[in-house]
């Protein structure tokens, strides 16, 4: 006789899950961001120049777009086996690409296989974390989301060392073994039965994707807002450094601008997570506010003259707001769809942001080529985020 499902434990094993999600975030997004360091080595070996930048873009796109699959599978079979399998898939992707004989192999291995593995790992891990917490959920999610910043910090120099010692083939092989750690992280995601969980047997595969969530007006409003925000959110990841360089900063100056934004982002994830949980302001309002601030921050980055203090301040403001926004996006979900729908909603959120993510950076690059600098790019992506935040004001 099993005890009837109780509410989220809000602690206890939940902190272990938070640590696991932290590692998953680091081993997926953090790894993806650091891969950029290997791109010149790929270019040199395959004697191409720009096409290899698409390898990471492809991996990111696959990861985001395939996330609902990860969520659907974990609603069916539990997050644990899905994440563990995702780790193996990513591992295989890296190992396969270590033996690549052409750029196509890299696309297949890193872009498709590893991207899919990451999709199976990230959304279920985050969804599970949300289920383990209620009063301190946003803090826990914020904590987990700092994983990719911490991982990038460690992985970037480590990757350079691997490249210098083992070349890119050996580096990919060892990175694959590192990403295999997603599997033990998955093992830590103990299944949790909660009231409101949908019964497993009564639905078909499409229903498992959670598309029925779109029939809820609150979630649809949220979806629209998030898709718009996604159009602007990823642009700074790609174009903040080139923008700083365009303004006349040297390599280290541009790195400082990126660092200021990254540190602000990481710190804000924790602080806002803690703040949001205090419950002083309803989460949807906070979401709209920080979304708007992120949009304004990006407008500032684009409009601010020169390359010194003002640019750093704008980058810092953007970082702080974007960092506050991130855990809130996941934190509002239980309020919108109930704790039982969180797993599927998480996957859908990733997919929504990926739609914007596929549109934003290429549009930004196009605007830069047409107008000569990034001002228009940042104005446009800031506006995307502002309009998405405006829509968020319609949330209950």
């Amino acid at each position: 006789m099993a005890p009837k499902p109780a509410g989220p434990p809000d602690g206890g094993w939940g902190w272990v899950v938070a640590a696991s999600a932290f590692a998953v975030n680091g081993l997926s997004y953090g790894m993806l961001r650091s891969l950029g360091l290997a791109l010149p080595d790929f270019a040199e070996h395959f004697d191409r120049s720009a096409q290899d930048a698409w390898v990471s873009a492809l991996a990111l796109a696959v990861q985001q777009a395939a996330s609902p699959v990860g969520s659907a599978l974990s609603t069916r079979w539990g997050a644990r086996p899905v994440v563990m399998f995702g780790g193996v898939l990513t591992f295989l992707g890296f190992v396969f690409s270590a033996f690549a004989r052409s750029l196509l192999h890299l696309y297949l291995g890193l872009g498709l296989l590893a991207g899919s593995g990451w999709a199976l790992a990230f959304a279920p891990a985050l969804g599970t974390l949300s289920r383990y917490f209620s009063r301190r959920r946003v803090l826990a999610v914020g904590l987990a989301l700092t994983g990719n910043g911490a991982a990038s910090l460690l992985l970037a120099p480590a990757l350079q060392l691997l490249l210098d010692t083992f070349g890119w083939r050996g580096a990919l092989l060892l990175l694959g073994a590192t990403t295999l750690h997603l599997t033990p992280c998955g093992a830590l995601l103990r299944p949790l039965a909660l009231p409101g969980d949908p019964l497993a047997s009564s639905r078909g595969p499409l229903a498992a994707l959670g598309l029925s969530l779109f029939t809820r007006p609150a979630f649809s409003v949220f979806a629209l807002g998030t898709a718009l925000v996604g159009g602007g959110y990823f642009v700074p990841y790609v174009h903040l450094a080139p923008h700083a360089l365009d303004r006349g900063l040297g390599g280290y100056g541009a790195a400082l601008v990126v660092a200021v934004a990254a540190v602000g982002d990481a710190a804000a994830r924790l602080v806002c997570g803690w703040l949001a949980d205090q419950g002083w302001v309803p989460l949807p309002r906070l979401l709209a506010v920080f979304g708007a601030l992120t949009g304004l921050g990006l407008l500032a980055v684009g409009l601010v003259p020169g390359w010194g203090g003002p640019l750093l301040a704008a980058a810092g403001a953007y970082g702080l707001s974007a960092g506050s926004y991130a855990p809130l996006v996941f934190g509002v979900l239980p309020g919108l769809v109930g704790i039982g729908g969180v797993m599927q909603a998480t996957g859908l959120v990733m997919m929504l942001m990926s739609l914007g993510g596929l549109l934003g950076p290429p549009l930004s690059g196009f605007l830069r080529d047409e107008t000569g600098d990034f001002t228009a790019s940042f104005l446009v992506c800031g506006s995307f985020i502002l309009s998405g935040s405006f829509i968020y004001m319609g949330l209950p």
Binding site: P8, H45, D164, G167, R169, G170, H181, P184, A187
Partner: protein, 264 residues
């Protein structure tokens, strides 16, 4: 070119050119007492120089034509006896840019070594390899070496296929100009797959152990939970209450009391 304090200027030259070097010297003393000499490296050059004195400024110009590589070097104008009152012009052939870090590859792989120079047009590129101090031309007749020239003549690539451990070492690309040669060193490292394989297997083994440990640990704690449940509904109810987070606060007290009784 002007120089009023000891100044150096670097000039990059590829092919025969007519050269005009100008030095300007300003002083408050007597200009007529100042002796003007032009030197190449340490040899004094005779007579081709023009000297003009106006007011406080002494102006000298040296004209000549460079056609051979032995004419490259340092040309200096000297004013008077003091070593500081001079300007130096260094003539060099263009330098080649290439990798500073060794290229790491694996047995059976292929690789491309590239050399490039900005805004220069060498007459010819040649590749050498060396396993010590002697440079030996790369044998392009062999199937494994291909030299690929860039579209604009300012770059060259050496493609090596079917790499083996003997191929490792230093490779030099030489750019031949009318006025001299420029070279650049690229180091090639060829590893066997066993090199990264060992740490790789170590990490995979560690992951497998971790997963096993986590799952075993969990099975163990599940067993511990199940044993006291045999027939004790009393404690099952206690479990239910303590899991119910909405009542968490009120139940803490009674739960603690019960625990202190049972855990001796």
């Amino acid at each position: 070119e002007h120089s009023s304090v000891p100044v150096k200027k670097n000039i990059t030259l590829e092919r025969s050119s007519n050269i005009e070097l100008t030095c300007q010297f300003t002083t408050s003393g007597d200009l007529n007492a100042v002796n003007v000499t032009w030197k190449k490296d340490d040899e004094v050059l005779e007579n081709n120089s023009l000297i003009n004195r106006t007011g406080n400024i002494l102006y000298t110009q040296y004209k000549f034509t460079i056609t051979k590589s032995n004419q490259m070097g340092s040309y200096s104008c000297f004013f008077g006896e003091k070593k500081e009152h001079r300007g130096t012009f260094h003539f060099k052939v263009p330098e080649i840019q290439g990798k500073h870090k060794p290229i790491v590859t694996y047995v059976g792989d292929s690789t491309i070594l590239a050399c490039k120079c900005q805004d220069c047009f060498p007459l010819n590129w040649t590749w050498y390899s060396s396993n010590g101090s002697v440079q030996v031309p790369v044998d392009t007749q062999m199937n494994k070496f291909y030299v690929i020239s860039g579209a604009h003549g300012n770059e060259t690539k050496l493609k090596i296929t079917q790499l083996s451990e003997e191929d490792r070492g230093s490779y030099w690309c030489h750019a031949v100009f009318q006025l001299g040669e420029s070279e650049n060193l690229i180091e090639l490292v060829v590893l066997s797959y066993l090199v990264p394989l060992k740490p790789f297997l170590a990490i995979v083994a560690e992951v497998i152990l971790l997963v096993a440990a986590i799952l075993l640990c969990e099975m163990y704690t599940q067993k511990k939970k199940k044993q006291p449940d045999e027939g004790k509904e009393f404690e099952q109810i206690e479990q239910l209450k303590s899991d119910d987070s909405s009542n968490g606060i009120e139940n803490n007290a009674p739960r603690h009391r019960k625990n202190s009784v049972t855990s001796k």
